[in-house]
């Protein structure tokens, strides 16, 4: 029998702004711990919140073996590694003061807008996975997000747009410069460039345009034949410029997954060739795949395939080089779109900007976009920029040629 302990500690402070006024300050520290026991190909799990509860949880976890939940895999063992990522940039008081200062500056320069927070937080997530078989993995990821939503005072909408920062560092002047570029562009109506098919850019972290991979490359779906891509491993389905890998660090996840597999860089698609789906150990074993470091588990639950944490590898060109002097569309907010089961894509765009010379040049009318997964990531794939979108951002520009209409 192997006993494994999985601990997740969230330390977080957050500030809320509503109606251009400071509203609240919140602090929380939540510790969750799970104990897993593995015996004869079975797993039993139980957990607790807070500091006390290990003895009872161990009894419950052992008793849960009677449920006969299969785990025909080798639990992680004899591996020790610790990583710390990022730094805690703000205390509660510092975050509060910074939010107040940024709000005051924005209200002064852009009094026509109403601001509210879309996540102003700073904190650290500490995850450990250890066992009596010698597994000892420790991850500490500190990060912040400084997001603001805005709307014109005359607007009847809940929000008109948003901007934010979540990079490794923070600088007020750089944050306000980015905000000013977007707010100024929002006030300047722009015309959609001529043509049906236009270069359209998203943040490379935008789930809307990548959700098809999360759905169709899930190991169980793929292995069972239910995926659009089932049975196509080894085939060149997409543009040579598309390489899709496990990017746990980019997603600010621990370097190991819930089973202790370190999957950073695991290739799902390489040079346009479909390589492998994402999966946990159990799914991998069932279909003969390699575990991709994509297992997820609740603190007191059995591991299963979780999100792919996929990241598209940046290309060699900067955003300006990708534009080649041509105007383009930047999609800031597109909610509600989807891919059909056959791969067709459609979405309304609630907020888009015209981009000229690499800068936001004006606000476009609401748009409709359409394409198909094999076009978007095939002949119409423009790639991911080598540079980040703003000095405080982790995101890069992800571009496609797409059918655009008002």
């Amino acid at each position: 029998m192997i006993t494994e302990k999985y601990t997740i500690i969230d330390d977080e402070v957050s500030v809320k702004i509503a109606g251009s006024a400071m509203e609240s300050l919140r602090a929380k520290r939540i510790k969750r711990t799970g104990l897993r026991v593995y015996d004869n190909g079975l797993i039993g799990v139980s957990g607790w919140m807070g500091e006390e509860g290990e003895g009872e949880a161990l009894k419950r976890a052992k008793a849960a073996l009677a449920h006969k939940v299969p785990y025909p895999c080798e639990p992680g063992k004899a591996l020790k590694r610790e990583e710390k990522e990022g730094k805690a940039l703000f205390t509660a008081e510092e975050l509060d003061a910074e939010a107040a200062a940024v709000l005051a500056a924005l209200k002064k320069d852009f009094p026509q807008f109403v601001f509210s927070s879309a996540g102003i937080k700073s904190g650290t997530r500490t995850v450990t996975l250890s066992s009596d078989a010698g597994l000892d993995l420790r991850s500490s990821v500190s990060s912040y997000s400084f997001g603001l939503m805005y709307k014109l005072g005359t607007s009847a909408s809940i929000l008109d747009g948003w901007f934010g920062a979540d990079g490794p560092d923070y600088d007020r002047a750089a944050f306000l410069a980015n905000a000013s570029e977007m707010l100024a562009a929002h006030l300047k109506p722009a015309e959609l460039p001529a043509g049906v098919k236009l270069p359209v850019f998203f943040e490379d972290s935008d789930e809307l345009v990548r959700m098809i991979f999360g759905r169709e490359l899930s190991g169980m779906n793929y292995g069972s034949g239910g995926s659009l891509f089932s049975g196509k491993a080894g085939q060149k389905l997409f543009s040579e410029g598309l390489t899709l890998v496990n990017g746990r660090r980019r997603h600010r996840q621990p370097f190991f997954d819930a089973e202790g597999t370190a999957g950073e860089g695991f290739a799902y698609i390489e040079g346009g060739v479909l390589k492998a789906p994402f999966c946990d150990k159990k799914t991998a074993g069932r279909f003969g795949f390699a575990p991709s470091g994509s297992a997820h588990a609740e603190y007191d639950g059995a591991p299963a395939t979780g999100p792919s944490c996929a990241e598209i590898k940046p290309g060699p060109k900067t955003f300006r080089e990708m534009l080649g002097g041509q105007p383009a569309v930047y999609v800031s907010i597109a909610g509600g779109g989807d891919f059909t089961s056959e791969g067709a894509f459609g979405t309304p765009v609630q907020l888009a900007f015209l981009v000229k010379d690499g800068k936001l040049a004006g606000k476009l009318p609401e748009l409709q976009l359409s394409s198909h997964v094999y076009d978007m990531y095939g002949r119409d794939f423009l790639g991911v920029s080598s540079d980040v979108m703003t000095p405080l951002s982790r995101s890069r520009w992800l571009g496609f040629l797409m059918n655009v209409r008002k």
Binding site: A18, S24, L25, M49, S157, I158, G226, G335, Q350, S370
Partner: protein, 445 residues
């Protein structure tokens, strides 16, 4: 009992939850467990700012009250503050679960309920992948505040969900069946739901045709109408979006005409189901709030604070997803009220249109969207085969005026495994549903 600081409002919400889960992937057991959690959320208000803390150590609550109080600026006149006046005082009668307590049902019985449906799914060869779960939770909340307000509230919800992937002849489809209820016995109809889902999905997989993008008359099922009401209008009725926002208040002024006279939308926390919220997380009682009545804006959803700011009454809509979060203004069960014709008459009035039966997801800003799952062509008032649609969308401001028929029976639906998202708080259980709703000129992709 807690010692509350002078010159400040303070409340403590303690939550103890027992939840159960049985989860399977293609018939293989993945998880079977019960979980007990406890935690508290502490709020301190000085009349200008709120200070919050969330803890899992219930013995630490008094320390957190004291710590937050040190951050705040006491106001000797805090009791006269409009927000504080809106918060409950005095002891409220406990609101307890009256039916069969979910905690008393053995995990094995819940698991057996779920596995009883396996033969139905396993017998269909086109179902190449499937997962399912049974989940429930029983929560006991105790809310007490510095005004002497106290409340004990119990709430429970159980449900089952099957996620099915169909594959045949190179085509795939993902669809599912989902039902929730406050009583375990009320899940009894789930087998019929699942059978219907299987039959409709196979028909869709084999016979669906792509819709030509354009403008169509669209009939929304009770599910789709519920999501439409929630996404297109419900969020705009949440008053926290209006604080400090003259434009929003002007545009959404009560009494404003939005649609035809037979159009009524209501939010009601007292409705059984996944949106059941007899008291909110500030301890305010649920109200049946008419949001649209006779086609005109009639009301808004409030917390104590937003009601105070806008000079209206609290509506019992301050909700959180759990003890880690503060209550914010949320919907409960939001739905269209019965309308002006029968379902048959409503369909008969469509010469060339689309029927949205089930959906994958919806969203709503100035433009609302619904991504349909199962949808059908309508020709001369009759269903004319399954239709593949990426998304339907429309302007929130225009679409209510394009509703020209609402059927006369309301069907409310409850779900597990998802819910409403607002800011960082997701998922919050809410109720959906309504009658059938017909809308002219919707944009279809």
């Amino acid at each position: 009992m807690y010692k509350f600081p002078e010159g400040l409002f303070c409340d403590v919400r303690t939550e103890r939850t027992r939840s159960s889960l049985a989860s399977y992937l293609k018939g293989e057991l993945r998880d079977l467990r019960e979980r007990d959690t406890a935690g508290a959320f502490v709020r301190v208000y000085d009349g200008r700012r709120w200070y919050y803390s969330s803890v899992t150590d219930l013995a630490a609550v008094q320390g957190e009250i004291d710590r937050l109080a040190r951050l705040a600026t006491p106001d000797p006149k805090i009791a006269e503050n409009r927000t504080v006046r809106n918060l409950p005082s005095g002891k409220t009668e406990p609101c307890l679960v009256k039916g069969r307590d979910l905690r008393s049902i053995p995990l094995a019985e819940k698991n057996a309920f779920l596995t009883s449906f396996f033969p139905l799914v396993a017998a269909e060869p086109a179902v190449t992948m499937w997962s399912c779960f049974y989940s429930d939770n029983f929560t006991r909340k105790e809310i007490c505040n510095s005004k002497g307000g106290s409340l004990v509230l119990e709430r429970q919800l159980c449900g089952a969900r099957f996620n099915l992937t169909f594959s045949e002849g190179g085509k795939t489809l993902q669809e599912g069946a989902n039902r929730a209820a406050n009583e375990f016995a009320d899940l009894a109809g789930f087998g019929a739901d699942l059978k219907s889902c299987l039959a409709k999905s196979l028909d869709f997989l084999r016979n669906s045709k792509r819709v030509e993008p354009g403008k169509y008359t669209v009939v929304l099922s009770p599910l789709a109408a519920g999501v439409f009401a929630h996404e297109s209008f419900g969020h705009k009725s949440e008053a926290d979006f209006m604080l400090g926002d003259e434009g929003m208040l002007k545009e959404w002024a009560l009494g404003k005409k939005l649609g035809p006279e037979f159009l009524h939308i209501t939010d009601d926390g007292a409705r059984p189901g996944s949106g059941f919220t007899p008291y909110d997380d500030e301890g305010s009682p649920a109200r049946r709030t008419a949001l649209i009545k006779d086609g005109r804006l009639a009301g808004r959803l409030h917390s104590a604070r937003t009601a105070a700011e806008l000079g209206e009454e609290p509506t019992g809509n301050a909700r959180s997803i759990g003890f880690e979060f503060e209550p914010i203004v949320r919907m409960t069960t939001t739905h269209f009220e019965p309308g002006n014709m029968t379902k048959e008459e409503l369909f008969a009035g469509v010469k060339d249109g689309l029927f949205i039966d089930t959906i994958k997801h919806g969203s709503g800003m100035s433009t609302f969207t619904i991504a349909p799952s199962l949808a059908y062509f309508i020709k001369d008032g009759k269903l004319a085969g399954p239709a593949q649609i990426s998304v339907i969308s429309g302007s929130v401001f225009d679409t209510f005026g394009q509703i020209d028929a609402v059927s006369d029976k309301v069907e409310l639906l409850s779900f597990v495994g998802g819910g409403c998202g607002k800011m960082e708080q997701h998922p919050l259980p809410v109720g959906f549903g309504g009658p059938y709703v017909r809308v002219r000129g919707m944009s279809v992709l």
